[in-house]
Amino acid sequence: MENSKLDNWRVLVIDDEPDSIDVVTMVLSASGATVFTAANGQEGLEIFKQHQPTLILTDLSMPEMDGWELIREIRQSKNGHTTPVIALTAHAMSGDKERVLAGGFDGYLSKPLKMFTLLDDLKSCLGSKTPRLL
């Protein structure tokens, strides 16, 4: 993995588990991305409005504002309908993925995340939306 790979990425990571945030942040910043973090949807929404990240990775079950409410808020706010949002969730029961995609998310990665392949997984989640980030 080359460090310059994600130089233009401004990623907002939202999760109520600090460890989950840390581990993703380590991989993303090592690749050159600028990472913002938030512990719940409410904080995440404020950071989104303030810093306009190019990609949002969010947990689904969180206190205050969960991922489902967050995506509704983001889709309604300025620039929010084009920003890719990927759900990172430990809910891996069948049907979860379909529900997430139907809920307006651009992609879904289930926890435990694979750090070795995180960047590739994110890109394959984003599909045609990837080039805009690069």
Binding site: S94, L113, M115
Partner: protein, 464 residues
């Protein structure tokens, strides 16, 4: 709780006119929707049915007797007026029986029949003894249609009516009403006792059906809780594993600084073992979901070639590590596209191959997707491993079962892989079989129904 029971008549019975009459009658006697309690609906339906019979009975009987004993001016005959009046009231009771006031309908009908009988006795004192016997009819019906207290009130008013007869009609002597009175009292006792017994039976049946409904509701709640528990469990186990696997991978990627060889090896062991733990969690949850009947098998088009390729890609590293040959074969007779649950098929393949590799020290593991017949295809996994003794060939598909306790320690694994394969095969309307002899490898065959998406070719050349 609705109690409408729909009987399903046979086709022949539906055509028969008798059934049609039953249908019409049922419609005529159908209680109001607002009447929901089974007992009340039964009573309302009975009242409606009785009124359909009783209301026209008086006029029909009266006109029938006119044929036998012609009277010049029926309009001046008090019996005619009494009969017609009763009939009108009984039709009104019928109408009430179809509303939520059906109980008033019953009271009205029975009071009217009683009063009309007493009045007829007063009009024709000569026939009074015979007429008063008819008082037994409303008393019997009261025990079926009315609550116990109303029935007793009806009986009391009838007895009072009988006792008043000699006072109101001078032509009647008190001694004349003694016989009807005794009949009335005896039958009333019978009616009250029998209705009390019946009410108790009904209460018991109702209590039982309530208990049953409650048990069903509890079972549904328990099932929902179990689902919820499974989902939570999956979530709660994955969250810490995400951190363990994540940080270990971060270390192995060198993102937490250079690792000396010992630490790197330790990190690799942590990684290997946490992957194993993850696999175990997935398997346990899978079995639990299958047992709870919560696994849905999708029917979507998929390409067998892709299934084989995906499986090979994910299994290749394991094979390389054990220096085993991994061979794949795709039967050209297999349609390019099939219907099925590709993810679950992949899981079957993965479990079978992982199992095969576990018990194979050297040689090869072969995966082939084959056409078995016009209607069936199969996933066949063949290895050159230690084989399975005949006595174990059935039990290996049971949960937590391996050939013996020592093999678990020697070969590892959860003992759930083959159980999942069997359960999934059964869910897909297929089956799994094993052929093996000690020392010369094993062949697992999962046979599945061949479903082809519409519009795709399904040509099969019979093998030579």
């Amino acid at each position: 709780m609705t109690s409408t029971t729909t009987s399903v008549p046979t086709k022949a019975a539906m055509k028969s006119p008798v059934w049609q009459i039953g249908k019409v009658w049922e419609w005529l006697a159908e209680p109001a929707k607002s009447v929901t309690q089974p007992v009340q609906r039964r009573r309302a339906r009975l009242l409606a049915s009785l009124m359909i019979i009783f209301a026209p009975l008086g006029p029909v009987g009266y006109f029938g007797s006119l044929l036998a004993f012609p009277i010049r001016q029926p309009l001046q005959d008090p019996l005619f007026i009494l009969t017609m009046g009763t009939s009108v009231v009984l039709f009104a009771a019928y109408w009430l029986s179809r509303t939520h006031r059906h109980m008033w309908g019953a009271a009205l009908a029975l009071m009217t029949i009683s009063a009309a009988t007493l009045a007829a006795g007063a009009i024709v004192p000569a026939n009074m003894n015979t007429l008063l016997i008819y008082l037994l009819v409303p008393i019997m019906l009261g025990s079926m249609l009315l609550p116990a207290r109303a029935t007793i009130a009806l009986i009391a008013s009838n007895i009072v009516g009988i006792l008043l007869m000699p006072t109101v009609v001078p032509a009647i002597h008190f001694a004349a009403v003694i016989i009807p009175l005794i009949y009335t009292v005896i039958l009333s006792l019978v009616a009250v006792v029998s209705s009390g017994v019946r009410a108790q039976d009904v209460r018991q049946i109702e209590q039982q059906s309530q208990d049953l409904a409650e048990a069903v509701r509890q079972a549904e709640i328990a099932n929902k809780l179990k689902d919820q528990f499974l989902a939570n469990m999956s979530h709660e186990l994955r969250t810490p594993l995400n951190a363990i696997i994540g940080f270990t991978e971060v270390m192995l990627m060198g993102l937490a600084g250079e690792l000396n060889p010992q630490i790197e090896r330790a990190a690799q062991r942590i990684h290997f073992n946490s992957e194993r733990l993850l696999k175990l969690i997935d398997d346990v949850l899978d079995i639990a979901k299958i047992e709870a009947g919560r696994v849905e098998i999708l029917r979507r088009p998929f390409k067998p070639a892709e299934l084989l390729e995906t499986a090979e890609m994910s299994l290749r590293p394991q094979a390389t590590k054990k220096e085993l040959k991994l061979v794949t074969m795709l039967d050209p007779n297999l349609p390019k596209q099939l219907f099925g649950d590709a993810k679950r098929l992949e899981q079957i393949l993965e479990n079978l191959v992982t199992n095969a590799m576990k018990f194979t020290e050297q040689g090869s593991v072969t995966i082939s997707l084959q056409r078995q017949s016009v209607e069936e295809w199969a996933i066949v996994v063949n290895d050159t491993g230690i084989g399975i003794p005949p006595h174990a060939q059935e039990t290996i598909f049971e949960k937590f079962r391996q050939i013996d306790g020592t093999s678990r320690r020697a070969y590892g694994g959860t003992g759930l892989g083959l159980a999942i394969v069997r359960e999934l095969s059964l869910l897909m309307d297929g089956n799994v079989k094993v052929k093996s002899s000690l020392g010369s490898g094993s062949t697992f065959t999962v046979t599945l129904p061949l479903l082809v998406p519409e519009g795709t070719s399904n040509v099969w050349k019979t093998p030579n």
